[in-house]
């Protein structure tokens, strides 16, 4: 698996898109720090960008890479290599190189600005960790979609729909259900509904660490009571991990049964 990972990783590191992605974060980091002149505020702005953009890029990159490397995959399948190693290697190659672009692209400007001496270092690390999680989650989901659909257009369509659903539509439905059922106690419901969407979960996790949860009103207090504790934090991280592991297992399961 490591050899496949190595080749996929190098292949992507050499590609133009990885550089563009890296440079984008680098520019974003520098511009935000320059304009805000405040690490904490920059982290908030970054969160808003990251929470929507990372899943989108992860999804598109994952689907594109899978379909583009079909020939390579077929070549590998006839070689003495375990099937799951081929797909896991490719997956970790893509997700790893995207996560690296993110961490380096944002990390460099912040370190240069003097993050290591500021007290926002924990918030910032949390931002990078959730960003990396989101990358791994959405690349895995997109690989599962791509391997289940021979037709590229369909695969792309489903992947973009998935992103749209989790990033936009889910929140709408969530909000509507809160309004419709406002007469009922919704504390547990909103906690669970947040857990079920990795994007929402990441957002809440970062917001609460940034001490702006007062803005969230009464619901915010409940969230703070849960997510703010160590237990809540661990549970959320556990759920993000689950969101990563389940699609990876799904990918392994699909890969074992597919005909090429």
């Amino acid at each position: 698996m490591l050899k496949i990972l190595k080749y996929s990783f190098y292949d992507l590191i050499r590609s133009r898109w990885s550089y563009i992605y890296f440079l984008f974060y680098l520019t974003l980091g520098f511009v935000l720090l320059f304009l805000n002149n405040d690490v904490s505020k920059a982290v908030i702005t970054l969160m808003n960008v990251i929470i929507v953009l990372i899943p989108l890029i992860g999804t598109i990159f994952g689907v594109m890479y899978y379909y583009n490397s079909r020939e390579f995959t077929e070549l590998l399948l006839a070689q003495p290599i375990k099937r799951s190693s081929i797909f896991m290697g490719q997956y970790f190659g893509v997700a790893g190189s995207l996560a690296l672009s993110l961490v380096l692209g944002l990390g460099i400007p912040f370190v240069l600005y003097g993050l290591l001496r500021s007290n926002a270092i924990f918030d910032f690390s949390l931002l990078l960790v959730t960003g990396a999680f989101l990358t791994f989650i959405f690349v895995a989901l997109s690989f599962v979609i791509a391997i289940s659909n021979e037709n590229k257009i369909k695969g792309f369509g489903y992947a973009v729909l998935l992103w749209l659903f989790l990033a936009v539509v889910y929140d709408g439905l969530f909000l509507m259900s809160l309004i419709v059922f406002e007469e009922y106690p919704l504390d547990t419901f909103s906690l669970v509904a947040t857990m079920l969407n990795p994007i929402d979960l990441s957002r809440i996790l970062i917001l609460l660490k940034l001490d702006i949860s007062a803005l969230l009103g009464y619901t915010g207090a409940i969230f703070k009571k849960f997510f703010g504790t160590d237990l809540g934090f661990l549970v959320s991280m556990g759920i993000l991990l689950l969101w990563t592991v389940v699609p990876i297992l799904g990918l392994g399961h699909k890969a074992k049964r597919k005909d090429f």
Partner: protein, 237 residues
């Protein structure tokens, strides 16, 4: 025996491709797998390679069942039908990569010289012509020393010179006692190379034997007509 197949079934959706293939492939011969388009030749080959997963049946390569195994592929050199290579890497890099992944001794230098590929080594695969790609494909297949060689349409796009080289190469491998499976639609090539014929029709083995037996059974004067006769009698049956 090199390959043993028992009651092999495969369907893609409702489309039944292989309907109970029973087959033994013995060591040291060249087998030609023939049959009309869509008769299941490639599916059969891909099942042996583990790329297609059968619905039912057993395949054993070199006396070991292949299910859930992958190490046996170290004993197989496979030439795929359409040379689909990753477009953005150079010929040299591709050869190096496959060598690295396979981790066995290889003799690519001699083959590169044989097919005159030196000028292309530093070119990207997407810039090569179909015939040149096929030559690269052949180098990648023959550079390892494995007891079983599977060639899916090896002659596609080759010029006469390369074709002669390919035939010599196949004969040389056979002389070393290797087992070779070939599919081809070029009957002249098959007649020249193969000791045994396997004729697939609608997912079943319709004929197995040598060319002499085939001519006798069909009563046709030459090989090409005999194969054509098999196809027509088959569709009437």
């Amino acid at each position: 025996m090199t390959i043993e197949i028992k009651d092999l079934h495969k369907n893609f959706g409702k489309n039944q491709i292989l309907k109970g293939i029973d087959l033994t492939i013995d060591e040291g011969h060249i087998y030609a797998i023939l049959g009309p388009n869509g008769s299941g030749k490639t599916t059969l080959i891909k099942s042996i390679l583990g790329m297609v997963i059968p619905n039912k049946g057993l395949i054993a390569v070199l006396d070991k069942p292949i299910k859930k195994d992958w190490r046996y592929r170290k004993k197989i050199d496979y030439l795929p039908q359409i040379a689909n290579f990753p477009p953005n890497i150079k010929v040299k890099e591709l050869i190096h990569m496959i060598k690295d992944l396979r981790n066995s001794p290889s003799a690519e230098g001699e083959l590169i010289a044989l097919f005159g590929l030196e000028p292309f080594l530093n070119k990207k695969l997407s810039t090569l012509s179909g015939g040149t790609k096929q030559k690269v494909n052949i180098v990648l297949t023959f550079m390892f020393d494995s007891p079983l060689i599977i060639l899916d349409e090896p002659t596609t796009g080759l010029d006469p010179m390369a074709l002669i080289r390919l035939k010599e190469l196949i004969q040389r491998e056979k002389a070393q006692g290797k087992t070779i499976l070939i599919t081809s639609h070029i009957m002249q090539f098959v007649e020249e190379m193969a000791d045994k014929i396997l004729y697939l029709l609608e997912g079943e083995i319709y004929f197995k034997g040598n060319i002499g037996e085939l001519l006798e059974q069909t009563g046709e004067p030459d090989f090409e007509h005999a194969i054509a006769a098999l196809t027509t009698t088959g569709s009437h049956a």
